[in-house]
Symmetry: C2
Subunit: 334 residues, 2 copies
């Protein structure tokens, strides 16, 4: 966002005018579901009319490898709560005679994957657009040092759905992750109780043609069918958004390639990413335009994590690429 | 405890002396494993020498049904922590390529039971002393209103190991319960992360001949063998104590029956309980004496739960029974 503001300032300072009209849509609710954005775009369709959208919320492929992200995963999210006894119970006096919500929740979560790491929600893989052979080859040709990846994360090995590479798993295969869970006593030392309640936040990352609404309903039914006797289940729906994959060969995509090569001094690689940017779907559905996902950051920037950062060189190169983009897009529209 | 102090005061006030010597051992660490009691009893074996121990930490069978508890379950406890990446990760950027500690923990916990509610820790049932036919008949003859039990707990049904009644499950069958678990983000709303860590507190209630040390080792191995690739596992051992079952027909047991009948106006039923009172095992092992478990409280007293309470009538009846006990034990020792 700030690189695009800076590039607009630079154009106005150097040339007194921009080569194309630029409209900013500033969304402050993206991380919590963009609940009001679709209505805003619908209400302001005329003011927002444009040829193409530009979002810089993705990453470069590496420190010297700028990238255009032509695909993003979608997302579905819901919180599940299991309720057992009306209060925490003494695990000696009552244990063994009532279903334990924490054990019961673990049972539900464990059922979400088979031993090959495949998600067991009914219909989960039915409509998926598979990776093309060309995409799998492209991904395989990208430099990727799995030993460094593992080392940087401090884990002993990667893990995921059987039959796919790490890049394929991150960019183009769906997931089902627990983001948080809590039950009973979580302080220091023991407390011998059967908890009254257990809950978990679950998100699935989706790939093209997976329907977040339908699969959320399937997830709820899947969990509800596996409930231990005596437990009750409730859900809080959170945000959902489908995955997107853009045309690799549109004229806007060509303009973006030129702009990035000019800004960073090297042409971009064409990648997909595993995160979700639901607004790109809204721009397509409501405004009818594609989105250029031009990534200035790095995977090592610790997005959503402690010590999140953004390198100054990427800020400056990104600003230069943005400035070039307005000219390149003006050329495309001639 | 206070009933016994009051009864001693009453004897001293009314008769200037007690009919037997009474020694109090006051233990403040019972709920956190009694880590120092065994050493204290060993160091003070002579000062603690006695004929029989008396503990009132059990419950009556019901409001009008005092009870002697001749059996208690043992306990083993440990905390397990799974560690994945070195910090919480963006579930879009990394999800699908690294094992999720919360999903991995759920997988371990779910594996602890089969679909019949039987615990899957290796060797868990191997050495168990089964309920005798007489005990099962006795339990079946006790008044037990399962509809009230379920209603009081606010659950829709009981649940436990297949093939046993609710009283058998609570008193004489082993369990494996999660007392608490936590992972990742547990505040309001979503947060799209793969958590770095997940942990759970697990306790098993044990029945006679189950060895807490051996089964804790088996539990750890069972969990360690089921770890998803890339996760590491660690444990914090907590307290363990074997189950106990006492002689129904000892002279001290007869004295206790008479004392309770005198104090409460009705003879006690002979029951087992599901909780654990490890000190009874220490009295046996170190001092060589049996323990009379004389219960003054009610199952509705909300032990270890909010609104824990103790009825005044039970306090007064228990104090009377305690006063009678000293006389009855004196009679037995003549």
């Amino acid at each position: 966002m700030f690189t695009h503001i800076k590039s607009v300032e630079a154009w106005l300072k150097a040339a007194d005018r921009l080569p194309v009209n630029v409209k900013f849509v500033i969304e402050g609710e993206e991380e919590v579901g963009s609940n009001h954005l679709d209505q805003f775009l619908t209400d302001n369709r005329d003011r927002c009319r444009c040829d193409v959208a530009v979002i810089s919320d993705t990453s470069q492929y590496g420190p010297d490898t700028p990238a255009i992200t032509y695909g993003l995963r979608g997302i579905m999210a819901c919180e599940v709560t299991l309720t057992g006894p009306n209060q925490d119970l003494h695990s000696g006096v009552f244990g063994g005679s009532v279903a334990n919500p924490a054990n019961g929740l673990a049972r539900l979560i464990a059922a979400l994957h088979d031993d090959d790491g495949r998600v067991q929600i009914p219909g989960f893989y039915d409509d998926i657009v598979p990776l093309t052979d060309e995409e799998r080859r492209n991904f395989a040709n990208l430099p990727f040092d799995e030993a460094s990846y593992v080392g940087n994360l401090g884990i002993s090995d990667v893990y995921g759905e059987a039959g796919f590479t790490t890049l394929e798993r991150r960019w183009a295969r769906p997931t089902c992750d627990v983001n948080g869970m809590i039950s009973g006593y979580t302080g220091e030392g023991p407390k011998t109780i059967v908890p009254a309640v257990a809950s978990a936040k679950i998100t699935c990352r989706l790939v093209p043609n997976q329907n977040p609404q339908q699969l959320t309903a399937n997830l709820k039914q899947f969990l509800s069918e596996r409930l231990l006797p005596g437990l009750s289940i409730s859900f809080v729906d959170q945000h959902g958004a489908p995955a997107i994959v853009c045309d690799l060969h549109s004229p806007y995509m060509q303009a973006a390639r030129h702009a990035i090569e000019a800004g960073f001094g090297t042409p971009p690689v064409m990648i997909r990413e595993g995160g979700s940017i639901p607004v790109a779907g809204s721009f397509k559905d409501i405004l009818g335009v594609d989105t250029l996902l031009l990534g200035w950051g790095q995977n090592s920037d610790n997005l959503h994590s402690p010590n999140e950062s953004f390198r100054l060189i990427d800020f400056h190169n990104g600003t230069r690429a943005s400035a070039q983009l307005w000219a390149a897009l003006a050329g495309q529209s001639e």
